[in-house]
Symmetry: C2
Subunit: 663 residues, 2 copies
């Protein structure tokens, strides 16, 4: 068994055409926004989820994840329980722990994680195979149902966890485990004779293999990732061949209804032009495609990614950055079909869209990607977790009518309150790993160029070709658009810093060391590149104007005709019953509605809220029956209070709307 | 085996407190509206459905109904196929044939029906039991799963068929069969020791038993119907007891999600205040409750019916008279939840609401019932059948976006085109039996009072206590509100004729023999009672003004806020893509929109269509992305054409909307 020699610096030292994102361990987030979330992940979510993985959370559905590993490792007797992809929850937790340890060393936590790694390694089979479901339950069925059984998906998550944990701790044990696993997969799959020409039903392994390649430098991991990407959707369909080989035609609901498009295997990936099928799978695939395109400098593959990106963001994305319009298949439906109440908008899909955006930004520093990354992060990702870190949304609706969620099955997947844990608990650990590593989405760099994508109160060290630049951001973002950026290069030198000017900001101002800096040079990408000789203490003042704005949807979005959403900076706002009573559909914004913002430091941990004068339909003033030709709809002046969307459902359960009628 | 002595006159000769409806065989409909539909039922639907029941319609799902009876009768070998309630399709067909023969004697058709009756009688078991599913497939499971297995439902439909066929032909064979069946049921169910205290999962037997009681005068049928009504919902729940007795807890989706309310067995019926669960079952139950209330003069039971009626019509009914807001469970959801696009609105539920309305009208001659009866009949019932009589809607949506029906599972139950037949073909024969007997909803009478509920070009003979009155209606209803009613009593006498003045008519005029008759005497029930000495040739001219009206929904109906529907007389109108292109959501009615009607004799068999000047949003004029703070929604003047709702989907498939935005 060959053990790779990990090099944590591989990712920025090898010859590479594209920018790299600065890893999150180079970034100290110290604000009261993401910093608070990271504290929450450290102090509450990681310990809580550890309890959940060990089936010790009262009132929550048991996970069985640890138990399954103990059984697979021969430490316990019993049956495998949970979903076929149950292993992945544990991996996502370990990945979050890796990100946590890299910025907050914690010997106790590391000890727990090391014990877990021991357990994982014991569950690995002599040939490198590692999956508790098949090891315990169906050892003779390994790799026979890639379409439904998530073996490659689970492997991918374990690889991601190993890379994160290794980067944080230098630990090689888990890295060895996943290299042996990856090598086993490599020996099983490929286009060489005797190998299976399969690919996963749930994509994830692709992007994970590229991470492993970047860490180890092993070309075969890149090749294997590329194989999975290129093989997908080729005719005859592997999923049909393997079903035949299993000697049966499976009755699988998704397959029956959506066919191969549920798995994005309806066409070779380069020919896919619309995002289809299960939304999480889709964006994980697209992220893997972009990774392979980056590492192999494959412009054709990148263009396929771009086409899919454009389809999502210009046709199939909610105003909150959420994706997935229908519950059935947790899937995309079709262009402009964006129902607010029967929505799916899974948290994991939003997280995958963040991944996809980050990779697209490596090809092109363009706010077309970073604006969406920010939008998704601040709205749908954060909406996925409660303020106390103990409850999670799977579905992130844009309109909630509690009675309908309770009594009309069409909306019963929409929950009015976040849930403590899920039988299918993909979202909670996914949020944890993303928020814990949120720093890694802030900066990209190459040669003598630094790009700043996100504005977060923080201190970072960015290694350039022949310099190391400490950048400190001081800001109250997202509540305020003033950002002070202090630049401290290791040695005075000429290099460029590009700042994202978000598309939502119609009025930005920059001053360098107190001197106004014209924005005429702003590139059409929405970034302004400041190239100069930088010396210690140089300071950029960036002011992003954050007025409250009415957002309209394209008139092809039927749901939102005659309605507006309210945004301020990167944040989408919503109205909740807790502030506005029920019957939120009676709110009508008028031309005279004026919006005022106010930071309320004691409101849900501190937030900028918005008030406005509106009209409210007076339901009690209706004099007719259910239908009437005479009765008038009357309205009264009223005041409403809007709160950031991501904060909804942190008080008593009730109605919520994002899109409000406008007169 | 006792054979009852049928008396076709029983229904109007026995001492009875309430009005009776005049049976349809006393009424000759001769107009180009319902008359045309009846011709279609005779000439196309009945023969077509006979082919369907015999599995001879190409491209349609096989019915197996006849085949099942042949197997049960021992005439053929094979397995039972189709739904557990497959027998009922055949009964509904036979019922329609009965109604047809009573007004259009047809020896060939009668021969076919008689042969079918022979077949049915051969399938009956020596003890009177009759159900092909259990006889063929599970003979040892009879009456063990009333909740799911529809034995009593099928029995009810056969009883209804027998009553109709006997009334039409005097045939006693089928009547004997159902009396033996009813006696068998009576010996099986009841509150006497040794009998099962069960009741049907799908109600229907109740109203059928009352029909049989009215025909035969046999008190035990009334008692048995009343037993089923009174037993329902008592604790402990029979459905739970029988499930235990079967030795298993069934995994039944509806039960899991809605519990007993799916079957309206969550409470004793007298305590039920809201319509819940499967909509067809609900209105069949309520009809049976009203029947029992009428026959036993049970005011408490009637009041329960009225409460349920009011809940439906003031909270849970679509503007087209349709009921059932969700696909899951084909069910009611809750007050004011009336989605237009994810709607269910089953044709059979509409038919059941017609039954319910008719029975309520026997307690109270009030347009609260007859207006709804008319609304449902002219809109949702007729929408269920295509103009050629060969295709049927199960679901009658108020808004259709074909791409969504195709690609978003939330709406995949909504079909863009009527279907040739269904595996679960409850609706097609139900439409046939209703339209064939539509005359029986026109008049009710008692003592010396005649009530006219529907206006249809027709000639009728109404038997009063000591007179027989021939009433001829001449009208182009529903296209025109002028109705000439000629009254020809057998002998000159004093009696009363009450005319319904529909609530939608704000300006009605009456003249008798050319002399204006004041409407001051109109009762709050919406009926005007004209009591006088009538002689041959007396003529009432009734003019119901039929302006085109904008209808608004109660502001609690979220779906319809800011929207209006268009009605003219009893007809709801809709916009179809065939006339207006796609993107119907871009239509905006303004204050200046003027509506004009025009009868187009060549349009879909002749119909009054409506045109109006509106605004259409210019989607192409949108300059923004998917979301924008700058782009404007612009619109252009446009003309739209609206057609009666019931005529939709008779041309190329496309979008359709009932509710249109209003500025």
């Amino acid at each position: 068994m060959k053990t790779t020699t990990p090099s944590s610096d591989f990712q920025i030292t090898h010859d590479y055409k594209h920018v790299r994102f600065i890893p999150h361990d180079k970034i100290r987030i110290s604000d009261s926004f993401f910093g608070k979330y990271q504290d929450l992940i450290n102090d509450v979510v990681i310990p809580y989820q550890w309890e959940a993985l060990n089936d010790r959370v009262e009132g929550a559905e048991p996970s069985y994840a640890i138990k399954n590993f103990r059984i697979a490792a021969g430490l316990e007797q019993g049956e495998f329980k949970g979903f076929v992809f149950q292993d992945s929850d544990l991996s996502k937790w370990l990945e979050a722990v890796g990100y946590s340890l890299s910025i907050n060393p914690d010997p106790e936590l590391k000890k727990t994680a090391d014990q877990l790694i021991d357990l994982i390694s014991k569950a690995q089979q002599p040939d490198g195979y590692l999956n508790t479901h098949f090891t315990v339950k169906e050892p003779d069925k390994k790799w026979t149902n890639l379409r439904d059984c998530h073996e490659l998906y689970c492997a991918g998550h374990l690889i991601e966890a190993a890379v994160a944990y290794h980067n944080a701790t230098g630990d090689t044990k888990i890295l060895d485990v996943v290299c042996r696993l990856a090598d086993h997969i490599d020996s099983t799959f490929g286009d060489e004779p005797g190998k299976k020409r399969g690919y996963p039903g749930h994509e994830e392994i692709e992007l994970a293999l590229i991470k492993l390649y970047r860490l180890t430098g092993e070309q075969r991991y890149l090749d294997l990732g590329k194989f999975f990407i290129d093989e997908r959707g080729k005719k005859p369909l592997y999923f049909e061949l393997e079903a035949e080989a299993r000697g049966k035609v499976d009755h699988f609901r998704m397959w029956d209804h959506m066919g191969a498009s549920y798995f994005q295997s309806h066409l070779p990936v380069r020919e896919q032009a619309k995002a289809v099928g299960h939304a999480v799978r889709a964006v994980y695939l697209y992220s893997g495609m972009a990774d392979v395109a980056l590492e192999t400098d494959d412009r054709e593959l990148f263009e396929a990614c771009k086409t899919l990106w454009n389809n999502i963001t210009s046709r199939q994305m909610y105003v909150t950055g959420a994706i997935g319009s229908m519950e059935f298949g947790e899937a995309f439906s079709f262009d402009y079909d964006l129902p607010n109440d029967t929505v799916y908008a899974e948290t994991c899909a939003a997280i995958g869209l963040v991944f996809f955006a980050q990779r697209m930004l490596q090809w092109e520093t363009d706010r077309a990607y970073s604006d969406v990354l920010e939008l998704v992060l601040y709205n749908t990702v954060l909406s996925g977790i409660s303020l106390d870190g103990k409850r999670f949304f799977y579905v992130n609706p844009l309109e909630v009518w509690p009675e309908a969620c309770d009594k009309n099955k069409t909306r019963s997947h929409v929950k009015v309150s976040r849930q403590p844990w899920f039988g299918c608990a993909c979202c909670p650990p996914n949020i944890a790993r993303l928020l814990m590593s949120v720093g890694s989405y802030m900066y990209s760099a190459k040669d003598n160029n630094i790009n700043i994508h996100l504005y977060v109160n923080s201190q970072s060290v960015i290694e350039l070709k022949d310099n190391a630049v400490t950048i400190s951001q001081s800001t109250d973002y997202p509540w305020d658009g003033n950002i002070t950026i202090e630049v401290n290069p290791e040695h005075e030198a000429r290099f460029a810093i590009s700042l994202r000017i978000p598309e939502w900001c119609k009025n930005a101002q920059i001053a360098i060391n107190g001197e106004s800096y014209g924005l005429e040079q702003m590139h059409k990408s929405g970034y302004i590149k400041i190239e100069r000789k930088w010396k210690n203490g140089d300071t950029i003042l960036l002011n992003l104007d954050m007025p409250i704005m009415r957002v309209k949807a394209h008139p092809n979005v039927r749901e939102n005709i005659g309605k507006v959403a309210i945004k301020r900076g990167p944040l989408v706002y919503c109205a909740e019953a807790a502030d506005n009573g029920k019957d939120l559909h009676t709110i009508i914004l008028t031309k005279e509605s004026v919006f005022e913002d106010c930071f309320e430091k004691d409101f849900l941990g501190g937030a900028c809220v918005i008030t406005s004068n509106v009209k409210r339909i007076d339901s009690k003033g209706w004099t007719g029956d259910l239908y009437s030709t005479d009765a008038k709809i009357t309205s009264n002046p009223a005041t409403i209070k809007l709160i950031p969307y991501y904060l909804w459902a942190n008080r008593e359960p009730g109605e919520m709307i994002v899109w409000m009628r406008e007169e």
